[in-house]
């Protein structure tokens, strides 16, 4: 399944559920830790749970409808859009956010981003890097077309040429 298809599948899943599910998840696995959730309705998007309840503000809000990718995190290794993913659907799965991608910015994608001076304002870059990291895990030698399809996140500053180069550089590094 392509990343886009995954997103759509999750979206459909989410849409079929009631808007007001109030059974309350007690814990969530984020970045290798089991964190307690207090009074968070299951229907709350994972994005806002991470940001407002757990204080992990690295993951960004951009559109709320899975159009921009700024909120991308990994759930069991797969890139998903946390703005349309209900926390109740996470269950026991492992969530990885930018805060857990590496301890010190040493993931090959982060290093490539720094080498190519990718960020301008930097706001969307967390989502971009999470998308790239998942893409490269699945395919460590993406073609230009595969990068274009895989790196669908929006950047309003227009860092796409740098992102393209950084993904290629990270791929090289990850193949080593």
């Amino acid at each position: 399944m392509t990343l886009r298809a995954t997103v759509v599948a999750i979206q459909n899943l989410t849409a079929s559920k009631s808007m007001h599910r109030y059974s309350v998840m007690a814990t969530i696995n984020v970045n290798g830790k089991v964190l307690e959730l207090k009074d968070v309705p299951d229907s709350t998007p994972l994005l806002w749970v991470l940001r407002d309840h757990l204080g992990l503000t690295g993951t960004k809000y951009g559109c709320g409808v899975s159009e921009c990718g700024a909120c991308t995190v990994h759930v069991d290794g797969e890139a998903i859009q946390s703005c349309i993913t209900e926390v109740g659907d996470i269950g026991e799965a492992n969530v990885v956010t930018i805060e857990g991608l590496s301890e010190d910015g040493s993931h090959p994608v982060q290093k490539a981003w720094a080498e190519h001076n990718v960020p301008q304002c930097g706001y969307c870059q967390v989502g971009q890097m999470m998308t790239a990291a998942a893409l490269l895990k699945e395919n460590n030698d993406p073609s230009d077309e595969e990068i274009e399809e895989g790196m669908w996140n929006i950047c309003r500053c227009g860092t796409y040429p740098r992102i393209r180069e950084a993904v290629k550089a990270a791929a090289k590094e990850m193949k080593k």
Binding site: P41, T44, R51, D52, G58, D104, Y123
Partner: protein, 786 residues
């Protein structure tokens, strides 16, 4: 943003400003000292912490000198201080929204001071008019403050040299700075900056004109690249943007705003909203008074213990709106009105010779109408702010602190001050990183909302605009129409040029009744027409605004340069000539345009430092043609083509060549973009490259997709699904940026790369498939061919 717009905003806010009266204090419990606390000294990461626990010794220092970090530091200038361990503290008073300014300005200072870059600490300034202009807008930061930063660095360096001379009992002229040390000529004496702090503190600060600035040949940082200051924080998710700003005990607010600008709440029912878990309070906000300016739109705010709860609460509100008079606005009909307006006589803004009668008597006249719709800024991070307002027993404001993603903290002071009933200087404004801005975040209506809610709830309130709020309630780029008309001689050369523009003026946001493009708007691509034509008539027509009209990156260059450079291409085609050759001829002989005769304000810049130099414009055009192998384009197959355009914008010069590949079914690939840019002296070359790359992507968004429409006064679009912007797959495949090396005064960069992009793209499409598109965006047109 031009100087005259600054004046206009200044005038409009003066009417509301509350003047501090020291003799008869109107706000008795107002502890001015405590509340001006200098979080200017906190780094962005520190800011969140400092925000909740301010410390008064720090605030005293901040009052005296905003760059001073501790009592022990040596602070000879507003922008620089040095600690006794030698740490150089550089104060950045402009906002970081992606241009790299938090790196570039300190690099200028550091160069002049001869520091070890690793030992520089960068601090973000609060809003403070002592620091001069803080409106990070108009591509002005380097132009305005290049010299200021050099003087700051040179002041500190000169004093350190003098301190070393005293210490060594030698002539100060024999002491010089090098890599964070003062050295002595003719001996091997050297001493670290830190060790000179105590002595330097006691010295008189030299006057700027007594300073000896480094010669260009000795520059170490200016013109050389360094990673941006915030790289690590950005890449690890630790960077603090406006949406991440936190104050202790804060609530999160999401607001339902009137769907039509100027509308009001007739009635509302919050019963359902209050049943949403986490919702704390529902508050009605009044509508702005008079012109919108930077005031709040009004509506109903839901405050909760998380953004999502507030959002759910907002969705559960039942509100009956009074739409107001703008409900009659329909942009499709309005576009037709604008087209009619530019096809009848307007008011002449620049007139040379007698264009009207030459055109009337000409054998051949060519004309074309162009248009660009409303656009939304749509920065990746929507507008966000948190405010903490404290009041006394009778509800008078005793302190007010705003932490926001703002391009202009002084505008926040000017908007929040009157709303809170306190003098502007008494509003403490700290600045986070901005998830881009493009002009939206220099309009602080969202900060006023946060302050109003905090005052009422007596605790900090963070306001987040959802993407839908952002797209539906923007300060939109104006919808426009441009008419171009030229008489040509037998060789196709224009003998007279008549051009009319009509679009709602940004002035309408600040002064009710403003209904004609202002001269500073017309000067962005219209009245600053660079072409050498003996008869010129450049007019503006009336257009009333029915929405909040605001400036968006490149402002009126977006529509005016699109028309001007498209029309030149049309004339070249009609003349059967090579576009580059035609354009060079049209630009005429190398000369500096007489700004006074042409009644051009030149963005307030001096004609000596920033002449309107046609030679430089022709130079970027020639360079970009050369880089793109323009002459060989004839060998491209049908469906592929190259287009060329140039402009002077924000005092910088750009030339674009774009190569497109249009498939028979109309699918458009932008294969290659070349841009040559001359913006004078460059501080950070890589950031200039990235700005020009980014301008090509934003230009792509605008040209291919950008369109906000209004039906019954309401914006039709609401998110990135119906207000499409470019992704990697529909952006240029390759972008080649060529930065002209120049020792001329620094000009604009951030906005400069937009103006010639869209016309070069449409000219390329014409070359590829023979279809001319005059009404943006391209998504509304059929690009197929056979």
């Amino acid at each position: 943003m031009s100087n005259s717009l600054r004046e206009l905003i200044d005038q409009s806010r003066k009417a509301t400003e509350i003047i501090a009266d020291e003799s008869n204090q109107s706000t008795p419990n107002f502890s001015r000292r405590n509340f001006l606390a200098g979080v200017s000294t906190g780094s962005l990461v520190l800011m969140g912490k400092v925000a909740s626990g301010r410390n008064s010794s720090e605030s005293n220092l901040a009052l005296a000198n905003p760059s001073k970090v501790s009592a022990a530091s040596f602070a000879p200038d507003l922008f620089v201080s040095i600690d006794s361990d030698g740490t150089v503290n550089a104060l950045v008073h402009r906002s970081e929204m992606g241009t790299g300014i938090r790196t570039s300005l300190p690099r200028v200072l550091a160069d002049e001071l001869e520091v070890d870059w690793e030992r520089v600490k960068i601090h973000q300034a609060k809003g403070d008019k002592k620091l001069g202009d803080q409106n990070t807008d108009g591509s002005n930061s380097i132009r305005f403050f290049f010299k200021t930063m050099r003087i700051a660095g040179a002041t500190a360096r000169t004093m350190l040299e003098k301190a070393a001379a005293i210490k060594w009992s030698v002539d100060a002229a024999t002491c010089y700075a090098e890599n964070h040390q003062i050295k002595h000529m003719g001996s091997n004496k050297s001493i670290d900056f830190g060790e000179l702090v105590e002595t330097a503190k006691s010295l008189d600060v030299p006057t700027p004109d007594s300073l000896k600035l480094k010669p260009r040949s000795k520059w170490k940082f200016i013109g050389k690249d360094a990673p941006i200051t915030d790289m690590k924080e950005i890449l690890t998710g630790k960077a603090v943007f406006g949406i991440d700003a936190r104050m202790e005990n804060q609530l999160f607010a999401v607001i339902a705003r009137p769907p039509v600008v100027g509308g009001t709440v007739k009635s509302f029912d919050a019963t359902q909203a209050k049943t949403i878990p986490g919702v704390v309070e529902v508050i009605e906000l009044p509508r702005f008074k008079g012109a919108p300016m930077f005031q709040q739109l009004g509506g109903v705010a839901v405050c909760a213990n998380s953004t999502w709860a507030a959002w759910q609460g907002r969705d559960a509100l039942e509100i009956e709106w009074e739409a107001g008079e703008n409900e009659t606005y329909n942009s499709k009909e309005f576009a037709k009105e604008l087209k009619a307006t530019v096809n009848k006589p307007g008011v002449a803004m620049r007139s040379e010779g007698d264009a009207k009668s030459v055109i009337k008597n000409a054998r051949k006249v060519i004309s074309a109408d162009y248009s660009v719709p409303h656009l939304s800024h749509a920065p990746m991070e929507p507008t966000c702010a948190v405010a903490d307002v404290k009041t006394d027993a009778v509800g008078r404001v005793t302190s007010c602190h705003v932490l926001a993603a703002t391009q202009n903290p002084q505008a926040v002071q000017q908007a929040v001050g009157p709303a809170m009933g306190v003098p502007n200087d008494d509003v403490l404004v700290n600045v986070t990183l901005l998830g881009s801005g493009f002009g939206r975040k220099s309009k602080p209506d969202y900060c006023v909302e946060a302050a109003l809610l905090s005052r009422q709830l007596k605790r900090p309130v963070h306001v987040t605009w959802t993407r839908e709020d952002d797209i539906k309630h923007d300060y939109y780029h104006a919808i426009s129409a441009i008419h171009c008309e030229a008489s040509v001689d037998d060789t196709g050369k224009p003998t007279a040029w008549l051009q009319r523009v009509a679009y709602p003026s940004i002035g309408s946001t600040f002064a009710l009744g403003s209904d004609t493009p202002a001269s500073w708007e017309a000067e962005m691509g219209h009245t600053d027409l660079p072409y050498s034509v003996p008869n010129l008539q450049l007019e503006v027509g009336k257009a009333k605004s029915h929405v909040r009209t605001g400036w968006l990156r490149a402002v009126c260059h977006i529509q005016q340069n699109f028309a001007v450079a498209s029309f030149a291409d049309e004339l070249a085609v009609a003349a059967g000539r090579d576009q580059l050759e035609f354009l060079l001829d049209l630009l005429g002989k190398d000369r500096k345009i007489d700004l006074k005769a042409a009644k051009l304000a030149n963005r307030g810049a001096s004609p000596i430092e920033h002449p309107y130099d046609i030679e430089r414009l022709k130079n970027v055009l020639r360079r970009v043609a050369n880089n793109s192998n323009w002459v060989d384009r004839k060998s491209l197959p049908k469906g592929q083509g190259m287009g060329i355009a140039c402009c002077r914008s924000f005092l910088g010069y750009t030339g674009h060549v774009i190569q497109v590949d249009v498939k028979k079914d109309g699918k458009l690939d932008i294969s290659k973009v070349w841009c040559s840019i001359d913006s004078g002296t460059i501080v950070s070359p890589d950031r200039v490259h990235s700005q020009v790359e980014g301008a090509a992507i934003m230009g792509t968004s605008q040209a291919r997709y950008g369109e906000i429409t209004f039906k019954n006064g309401r914006a039709v679009q609401s998110n990135y699904d119906d207000y499409k912007v470019a992704r990697m797959s529909d952006s240029p495949k390759e972008i080649f940026v060529d930065v002209v090396e120049s020792s001329a005064a620094p000009a604009g960069v951030g906005e400069t790369g937009i103006g010639s992009f869209a016309p070069a793209l449409c000219n390329a499409i014409y070359a590829a498939i023979g279809k001319r598109f005059r009404d943006l965006p391209l998504k509304n047109h059929d690009l197929s061919w056979s």
